[in-house]
């Protein structure tokens, strides 16, 4: 970790990304402490107000404090991103290693399943599921998990196939190491770096998807704040006030920039080939 941070500090965009990510995470986690107002408090007669000392980003069409809603909206975005990416990553890791290390018939079946699932356009799939089950945050998370698993599984499978016949794995086998031990102690450490990079790069995509679905009214229900619903409200009242659109858009831009910079920097640091060391960890 210390090495990683040292390497990161030498990469300016990576450091910027890291700082943005830390700030966004901190603001979201401590939203209840930082937010100057209740994000759900309605004040109809003070709607669409411009920024002031009382309301730093103005108020929305119901007179709610936009800054507070943006902070709480970050919680929703990061909750969706962390839960869905973590679960999808774990499931993808498991299935990918089974496909890459298991018998070839099982590999073929799993690859067909992955490709079938990936063939659904994510947004269309999400819309179909929402129509059947009704909009909710849990459905958004479920859709992202289902559509992300094959992506991770495919990467893990490819990495596993590349590693499984290397000499040190063959040596482990010859010494009688169990499959579980080989997977856990030898293959997993060698394939985790690209996965972490991929997961980091996926955060803005997932946050964007949650915002997109909430923008369409298919994500979190009112009055819960989400960056997408703030944008949707802002779009409807754009002629009256630009602040909801600005306030809903900026965090999306920052999260995209932050995680992309960080992901690229992680790739440079963690990928041995790019780092120029030319060898695997073991």
């Amino acid at each position: 970790m210390k090495n990683f941070l040292r390497e990161l500090s030498r990469d300016t965009p990576g450091m910027i990304g890291f700082v943005i990510v830390i700030i966004v995470l901190a603001l979201s986690v401590f939203a209840s402490v930082i937010a100057p107002a209740d994000p759900l408090e309605i004040d109809v007669y003070n709607r669409l107000a411009s920024p002031s000392w009382q309301h730093w980003l103005g108020t929305d069409q119901l007179g709610r404090d936009i800054f507070s809603r943006v902070l709480y909206g970050g919680r929703v975005a990061l909750k969706v991103a962390l839960i869905s990416i973590s679960v999808a990553l774990l499931c993808g890791l498991l299935l990918g290693m089974i496909a890459g290390f298991g018998p070839s018939w099982l590999d073929r079946i799993l690859v067909v399943c992955f490709d079938t699932m990936r063939s659904f356009p994510t947004v269309m799939f999400a819309l179909a599921i929402m129509t059947l089950t009704g909009p909710s945050l849990n459905t958004v998370i479920a859709v992202i998990i289902i559509t992300s698993i094959p992506v991770y599984a495919r990467v893990v499978r490819t990495q596993t196939l590349a590693v499984r016949n290397l000499d040190f794995i063959l040596a482990e086998r010859a010494m009688g190491a169990s499959t579980l031990r080989i997977l856990r102690d030898h293959i997993l450490p060698n394939i985790s770096a690209p996965l972490l990079i991929l997961a980091s790069m996926d955060v803005p995509a997932v946050v964007g998807m949650e915002a997109g679905l909430s923008f369409l009214g298919l994500g979190v229900g009112p009055p819960t704040a989400s960056w997408g619903s703030i944008l949707n409200d802002g779009y409807s009242y754009l002629r009256n006030s630009p602040w909801p659109i600005i306030a809903g858009g900026i965090p999306l831009i920052l999260v995209t920039l932050g995680f992309t910079f960080l992901g690229e920097s992680m790739r440079d640091i963690l990928d041995p080939k790019l780092r120029g060391k030319g060898a695997l960890n073991q």
Binding site: R47, L62, G134, G217, S236, Y237, N240
Partner: protein, 531 residues
């Protein structure tokens, strides 16, 4: 000799370029007919809130279709363009009530159907009215005709309309409302007995020229029209479901008249496009919070009444309608027979009384309820204020926004079992020219169709029958007021507003609208000296 041009001149720089392109753009804007603000080529360009799905009168389901039908067809009577629901003669030169079940009419001679289908006759009237109730046709608007029986033709131009029983709304709903627009028997038969968006003939002041799906319908002046003169050679009716798009189109000079969203009225008041004006028309749409009294959570009338008293309608109207609309007292809007001057539950409600009712009902708080709503910015804003109001009295409301198609099916028994699960819903519909049309949807017979509250009251049903069977206006007024009292006292309804319909209009146009905000295209005129 080197000729100095802007490009080789030393003075050509970024500022010159920007100035030049701006001037070029402005010149171009003036040169393109679509961006000129004068009446263009004697054409009217107007927005319709949705595309047409059928122009066959008994099958027209939206007001958008009625807007076009009013221009291309004739009925015996039509609504005046004076902002009232009063009627005037259209195809008929004489129309009179003989008694409560008989109406006599005589057509103006010499009115021709287009496409060579000959003169409009009493037999065409008979065909058109009887076709609307033909059981083999199963027309969507058959109910508009009420107890209509048949038409007796006396001669080529005269006839008598016969009803089975008195039907006070017959003239405004059936005759002038569009369902009984007169079609040529020959033309409809030649089209196979039914048609869609391309009418086989017209007889109104404008003729149907073309329909482009999801884009526009084009009408042109009827050269054979013998009625009052109309103004425009062409009318282009654009299908724009997004009101924001119509605002942009108006600002870009593409439209001469467009409905705008209530939230944009402040913007247009400050930044009115040149040569334009803003007018706020009533919409005739009823908005209310409905409560499904058959749902276990809402079976206790005290819970429903607590919700009525808990909702601050003033705040809802202020937030969603920007204070342009007024709280309503029931489905019958102001200015119409049967309108109540006030409701039993005042618009501001009373949270203390609401809480007391919940305590009296023995409800353990917080009470969680679901509220279904159409996924529409205005309605979502309204329900969030309702949600906030009810939270103050201990009711947690989960809002479920659904697309329009799904939402319109949630209370219908023929669309599955979900009607049993709905609790609260924010509903709206456009009433008609008669209070009958505003209230008939709440009778017991409508339970599971449009009566999603499952409201059932014997007196209400009886009054509905009595009000439609009498033509004594004072009696009808009393009946309809009482019916709305009963609705409110049932606790199933919290009336919100009748809304408004803001329109921006070029100064070159004199518009004409029905009291519900729908355009009467045949009565649109250019301002004097513009054509």
């Amino acid at each position: 000799m080197v000729v100095e041009t802007p490009l080789n001149s030393r003075r050509f720089n970024r500022r010159v370029f920007l100035r030049g392109t701006t001037l070029a753009g402005l010149s171009l804007a003036g040169a393109i007919p679509g961006i000129s603000w004068a009446v263009r080529n004697n054409q009217l360009h107007i927005r319709n809130y949705t595309d047409v799905s059928s122009l066959d009168p008994p099958f027209m389901i939206s007001g958008a279709e009625g807007v076009i039908a009013n221009a291309i067809y004739q009925s015996l009577l039509q609504f005046r363009s004076d902002g009232t629901w009063n009627t005037q003669l259209d195809a008929a030169e004489y129309f009179a009530e003989i008694d409560a079940t008989h109406y006599a009419f005589r057509l103006r001679p010499g009115q021709m159907f287009s496409n060579g289908f000959g003169e409009l006759t009493a037999d065409d009237v008979k065909f058109s009215l009887e076709r609307a109730i033909d059981p083999t046709l199963n027309a969507l608007n058959a109910e508009d005709m009420g107890p209509f029986s048949h038409v007796e033709v006396q001669d080529r131009y005269s006839g008598t309309i016969v009803l089975h029983s008195p039907y006070a709304a017959f003239v405004p709903v059936a005759i002038a409302g569009g369902t009984a627009a007169i079609m040529s028997r020959k033309a409809v038969s030649a089209a196979g007995g039914r048609f869609g968006t391309e009418p086989p003939c017209c007889s109104g002041p404008y003729l149907f020229r073309e329909w482009r799906a999801q884009r526009k319908t084009v009408l042109e002046r009827n050269p054979d029209w013998s009625g009052p003169a109309v103004a425009f050679d062409e009318i282009h009716v654009y299908a724009m479901s997004d009101v924001k798009a119509s605002e942009t189109a108006f600002e870009a000079g593409q439209l001469d008249c467009a409905e705008i969203s209530v939230e944009s009225t402040a913007h247009f008041r400050k930044n009115m496009p040149p040569d334009s004006k803003l007018k706020i028309y009533p919409s005739g749409r009823n908005y209310w919070l409905g409560m499904n009294q058959s749902n276990p959570a809402l079976q206790d009338i005290r819970v429903r009444q607590a919700i009525q008293w808990g909702v601050d309608v003033n705040a809802v109207v202020e937030a969603a309608w920007f204070g342009l609309a007024q709280p309503s007292t029931g489905p019958v809007p102001a200015g119409m027979l049967g309108h109540r001057p006030s409701s039993h539950v005042p618009p501001a409600g009373d949270p203390a009384r609401a809480k007391a009712l919940l305590v009296e009902a023995g409800i353990s708080l917080p009470l969680r309820l679901r509220l279904d709503v159409n996924n529409d910015a205005l309605e979502l804003t309204a329900v969030q204020v309702i949600q906030w109001s009810l939270k103050k009295i201990g009711i947690e409301v989960d809002i479920r926004a659904q697309d329009n198609g799904t939402f319109l099916s949630i209370g219908r028994e023929d669309a599955g079992d979900q009607w049993q699960d709905i609790q609260l819903f924010f509903q709206s519909f456009v009433g008609g020219a008669d209070p009958y049309y505003s209230l008939v949807w709440f009778v017991s017979e409508q339970m599971g169709r449009w009566n999603w509250e499952r409201f059932s009251n014997e007196e209400f049903d009886l009054l509905n029958d009595k009000a439609i069977a009498t033509t004594v206006q004072v009696e009808r007024d009393t009946f309809y007021r009482r019916m709305q009292d009963i609705m409110e006292d049932s606790g199933c309804y919290r009336f919100v507003t009748n809304g408004v319909m803001p329109q921006i209009i070029r100064n070159t146009i004199q518009p004409a609208f029905q009291p519900d905000g729908y355009a009467l295209l045949r009565d649109f005129q250019p301002t004097k000296g513009e054509v």
